[in-house]
């Protein structure tokens, strides 16, 4: 029984306040979908997603189940409970206006609601609605996208086209009350402008217990989850 269902249009932006104990499932509605996601703790939006801390605590260079997404203050914001994909990019950021401009001029006057806007455009619009600003931007997770890292001296990056196909999904369990801000603009390294909608479904789920895969994954993951329960000790 879902609490909320919403289709985020292709290349659009959206904000979801997500209560602790709810699970958000994002499902790609087309091949090559991308969903750039920012996370803030709703209790105190100074505490936000910290990708470097998330990666080094769990010795990963990408986001995959059962990793815990951690905040600046070492608390679990959300657990990646399950996904059809084992790699979600978090190294290469969201698109800027100049990425979109490479596909040619597009305006509302000419293209109406199909006009091409960058992820930055949409994320800033959503941040502003909630009293946040450009200074609150941080490294995002690009759900459904993969950028491979070569084993050369530079650590060369290579975008993997159509890593996700229609129907691929990822589920996030909120470990505290969250503000989830997302954009479905294409990945900034995608050579094509082929945005896809993403379906969001929210359900109520039980809280983690000692057998939870995110708890047993690593001691670091368990400590971040415990810290999230202690934010209002």
């Amino acid at each position: 029984m879902s609490l909320l269902e919403h289709e985020i249009a292709a290349a659009a932006a959206w904000t979801l306040p997500l209560a602790a104990g709810r699970e958000l499932r994002l499902t790609a509605q087309g091949d090559g979908a991308n969903c750039s996601v920012l996370l803030f703790a709703a209790r105190d939006r100074l505490d936000r997603l910290n990708i470097p801390d998330t990666l080094k605590a769990q010795m990963s260079a990408c986001i995959r189940p059962p990793m815990v997404l951690m905040s600046d203050r070492g608390t679990a914001l959300a657990s990646v409970t399950a996904s059809t994909l084992d790699w979600h990019d978090c190294l290469t950021g969201h698109s800027l206006d100049h990425h979109v401009a490479a596909f040619g001029t597009s305006t509302y006057a000419g293209d109406r609601n199909d006009w091409r806007r960058s992820a930055r455009h949409g994320l800033l619009a959503e941040l502003h609605k909630h009293g946040l600003q450009a200074v609150d931007l941080h490294a995002c997770v690009n759900f459904f996208s993969k950028v491979a890292v070569a084993q050369d001296e530079r650590g060369s990056l290579e975008f993997v086209p159509r890593h996700a196909v229609a129907g691929d999904w990822v589920s996030l369990r909120a470990e505290q009350d969250l503000l989830v801000i997302c954009s479905t603009a294409p990945h900034p390294m995608d050579p094509a402008w082929a945005p896809a909608p993403v379906r969001a479904v929210v359900t109520a789920v039980p809280p983690w217990d000692s057998d939870d895969p995110s708890v047993t994954f690593r001691a670091e993951s368990a400590r971040a989850l415990a810290a999230a329960r202690g934010v209002f000790a």
Binding site: L46, N50, I51, P52, D53, L55, K56, A57, M59, S60, A61, C62, R64, M70, D72, R73, G74, T75, D86, W87, L91, T92, G93, L96, H98, Q133, A134, V135, D136, L137, H138, A139, C140, A148, V149, A150, Q151, E153, R154, G155, S156, L157, P188, M189, E220, R223, A224, A227
Partner: protein, 207 residues
């Protein structure tokens, strides 16, 4: 790649002790060098547009636009608006990390346990030295770890390897605009990023 600039001609020359920090202006066109005096020392560094703190260094934008994970000579360090703040103009170390972020008391607890909660950490230094310049937690982005080696694997893993630096190795940047630099000379004792023994760095500036 070495630089011909000599220490005796520098306008700025100071030593930052282990666990201490620095904040200061690099004027447009100025050259700024960080010297790893004793080797294997991580210098956690952030750059800001001096006229707009929201226009700050962005690790994700910098690595995406150069198409490679590691920073080295020639790397343009971009802001989150995609604008160039500095370029690495000289580097005798070889490569530097920008994915490992900074240590914090809170993230130390996650990584190592509650006994590390009150150990000194980079985020403390960033906030202490940043405060005089209007830099608070909102303005803290994901930093560069000069002299630190964090190899990524093809399978999507991340590891902390022994340092590629050595005594006297340095990295130097040229400012593309007036830039504020904020440094924490990392005090971390719980992993090999400082060779288990934090040591001083030397800062040199020519302008």
């Amino acid at each position: 790649m070495a630089s011909p600039l000599r220490a005796e001609d520098a306008a700025l020359d100071l030593t930052v002790q282990a666990g201490d920090g620095f904040a200061g202006l690099i004027p447009a066109g100025g050259e700024f060098r960080i010297v790893d005096l004793c080797g294997n020392q991580a210098a956690d560094t952030l750059f800001y547009d001096a006229t707009d703190l929201a226009n700050r260094y962005s690790a994700t934008d910098s690595i995406r636009e150069q198409g490679a994970v590691y920073l080295t000579a020639g790397s343009r360090l971009l802001s989150q608006r995609g604008e160039e703040l500095v370029t690495i103009s000289a580097d005798t170390c070889g490569r530097h990390d920008t994915l490992g972020g900074a240590c914090a008391q809170e993230s130390n607890v996650v990584r190592y346990g509650t006994h590390t909660r009150h150990q000194h950490a980079c985020r403390e230094t960033f906030l202490r030295y940043g405060a005089a310049h209007g830099i608070g937690p909102r303005e803290l982005g994901h930093n560069i770890n000069f002299f630190m080696n964090v190899p990524l694997t093809a399978a999507g893993g991340l590891t902390f390897a022994d340092g590629v630096s050595a005594p006297g190795k340095y990295v130097q940047v040229r400012a593309a605009r007036d830039v504020l630099v904020l440094i924490s000379n990392c005090p971390q004792l719980n992993n090999p990023c400082n060779g288990w023994d934090p040591t001083p760095i030397r800062l040199l500036g020519w302008w």
